[in-house]
Symmetry: C2
Subunit: 373 residues, 2 copies
DNA sequence: CACTTGATTGGAACCGGTTCCAGAGCATTG
DNA sequence: CAATGCTCTGGAACCGGTTCCAATCAAGTG
């Protein structure tokens, strides 16, 4: 763009394609419809001058301050419209020290959760005038770089961290910025969070127990791509649920694999290699469960007769594969997390402990009474 | 553990946990780590004063301007680090009239495309210091409100519109803002775009033709949730492909349904109700194709023997359902679209006509020589 | 030696809002 | 009539950067 042309346009110029009003009314200054390349911005000062008021008054109208006479307000609003004035979010952000932008950081490798969380967050902010900056984390990306880049200084008003547990050290770094942070689908003792209630584990175990299963393989996601802190404690929840159901606990039945079909397949291999393979597998995601189903098919193990499978997430495809699953309300979690974050920004104090949302067991054909045992 | 100080790059982020330096150096002003609630911002002026230079010089160091003596630069960088200075993106945005933020608007109801496009965009901007604002569109939301909200004034530097064809009227409104826009997965004569090459249609038709199919049902997405303008011309592409393959063209075999499994089921119902049902269906998405598969199962039609099915997208689940599909490089499209947008922002002139990326036919068990005919 | 040149530097002005204080206008009160 | 209080208004100062012009100084030139 060549801007070397004389730009010393004195008066304010509107961007509006002002209707060709023949009756030469007021508007002494605003000579609209200027040359194509010359884009001029209408500022609050232009509006003030045009409307014959002070900038303070215009600003008051903008931000809905009550102390403006109705007549004045009307005149200013008319002027704004006439000049095609549109306020600058950036200028506003600079002086208010508020950008009206949130940021969410989340892994993209579980597309279902990814989309649902984003939907939930947008649901929460759609009625506000917040915008949402998204930063996706691929497998194996550097957490430090991402978190430090995140919300650089004052670019955003708050951060949502979804399905990613920060390490204590990263948290220390973030804490310096005094930036509100809410965790979604993971927890940390020092941060407010929204998680799925892993009493879901109890429901799954109860379901399998009633069907007669006694050896349940628990497949987890690798807990912390980012941290030393235990993520949602899903594994623990299952152990407790099994103890409560008076089932034997065997660490060999608990393992952690990538959140992918491949991870599920690999887990099944491992389970089948045990002297006493589990008769049921509770996967940490539907994708993993699909891998388990696939592995079972390859090894000629009938589902659910030889091995039952439970997924988690509640993706639409699960129904086509007749997969029993734990439906996790990711959307609601995103929504509530965002609401919580908005509250923090407004100065509310964070709730103590994580907010737990109930999950939902959807029973389908992949779990049935096992034939053996 | 100290991050090496990034050399004179703009987005430099300093998060120095000021070590308790016993040697009481200078720092008369910036008393970091002050009282709990009082957060002090280190500005460029503080740095200038501390380093004994002018603000212009500090700014020059910040933006990597070459005309700074090495010694001075070093001193300023040291001072920045010592004070824990971090530049304000908002202030920078205000004075440069560049926010370094892009915005993408896209429908969330095809999760696969949604995620892949976002991944592609992030891939394009990860090495830059752009951030990405995401605005999802649900089915049936008001296009006008969304587009007008979008990129309000100067909040963002450019907009990506994915899988959403704007109407001419909306475009007029947007044009006023002189904001760079790139379309992804849709086209418009007045805007640069990146689309999948619908010679994919030719590949599909050829594939089915070789298998012996002569009546091919073409299932489309409702073309334009937003506009009067024809979207990618997928239907036309199929018509042309079929004409080229010397297959009869019958409008009854072309229809449009929701991009969902339900849409696929409904389409299949329609096709089966025809006097001569097609022997193959080319769906506009894998989700639709899954609905077709499901509908076929319910109606007791064997796939692929009685009816062949081709999907589109290339979602992972397609392989588990043994679904032949056209893999669309959404990620690459997002990436190239973003690159193109960055180019536009830099002042490059938009390419003429849409950029077309090749698609990829993945043949699986849902297409095989039909038994009848 | 006076003059030109180029490298480096300082800082006022500006980007477009918000905030806050002083002040104007007017009615009410003592 | 002066004092008080209230509503509404104007605009300087500020938010934290960038930009650009003028100034300084050392080196080079005739």
């Amino acid at each position: 763009m060549h801007t070397s042309w004389p730009t010393a346009q004195a008066g304010a110029v509107s961007v509006v394609s002002r209707a060709t009003d023949s009756a030469g009314g007021g508007t002494p200054i605003a000579a609209a419809a200027d040359l194509g390349d010359q884009l001029t911005v209408v500022t609050i000062r232009d509006v003030a001058r045009e409307a014959g008021v002070g900038i303070g008054t215009v600003s008051r109208v903008l931000s809905g301050h009550p102390a403006v006479a109705t007549e004045t307000r009307r005149r200013i609003e008319a002027t704004m419209q006439r000049l095609g004035y549109r306020p600058s979010p950036v200028a506003r952000a600079l002086s208010r020290r508020r950008t009206d932008i949130l940021e969410v950081i989340l892994p993209s490798f579980n597309p279902h959760r990814y989309v649902e969380v984003l939907r939930g967050i947008e649901e929460a902010i759609v009625a506000t005038n917040y915008a949402l900056i998204v930063r996706s984390v691929e497998r194996g990306s550097d957490p430090k770089r991402i978190l430090l880049d995140a919300g650089a200084h004052d670019r955003v008003d708050g951060i949502l961290l979804a399905s990613l547990t920060p390490t204590d050290r990263l948290l220390d770094l973030l804490a310096e910025r005094r930036m509100p942070i809410v965790l979604v689908d993971c927890t940390h003792p020092r941060l407010p969070s929204v998680i799925a209630d892993y009493d879901g584990a109890a429901v799954v175990v109860a379901h399998l127990r009633i069907l007669g299963h006694r050896r349940i393989g628990v497949l987890n996601r690798p807990d912390e791509p980012w941290g030393s802190v235990k993520a949602c404690g899903r594994s623990t929840a299952y152990r407790l649920a099994m103890e409560a159901a008076e089932l034997p606990f065997d660490p060999a039945y608990h393992l952690s694999r990538d959140d992918s079909a491949e991870g599920g397949r690999s887990a099944l291999e491992h389970f089948l290699g045990l002297p006493e393979p589990p008769t049921a597998v509770a996967a940490a995601s539907d994708m993993q469960a699909i891998g388990v189903l696939d592995g079972a098919r390859r090894h000629g193990r009938a589902v659910p007769d030889e091995i039952a499978v439970v997924g988690e997430d509640g993706i639409e495809f699960a129904s086509y594969l007749d997969l029993t699953t734990v439906r996790v309300p990711m959307r609601a979690m995103g929504c509530l997390g965002a609401r919580m974050l908005l509250g923090l920004i407004e100065g509310e104090s964070p709730p103590v402990g994580p907010l737990r949302l109930p999950v939902d067991l959807v029973v389908r054909g992949s779990t049935r009474r096992p034939s053996d045992d």
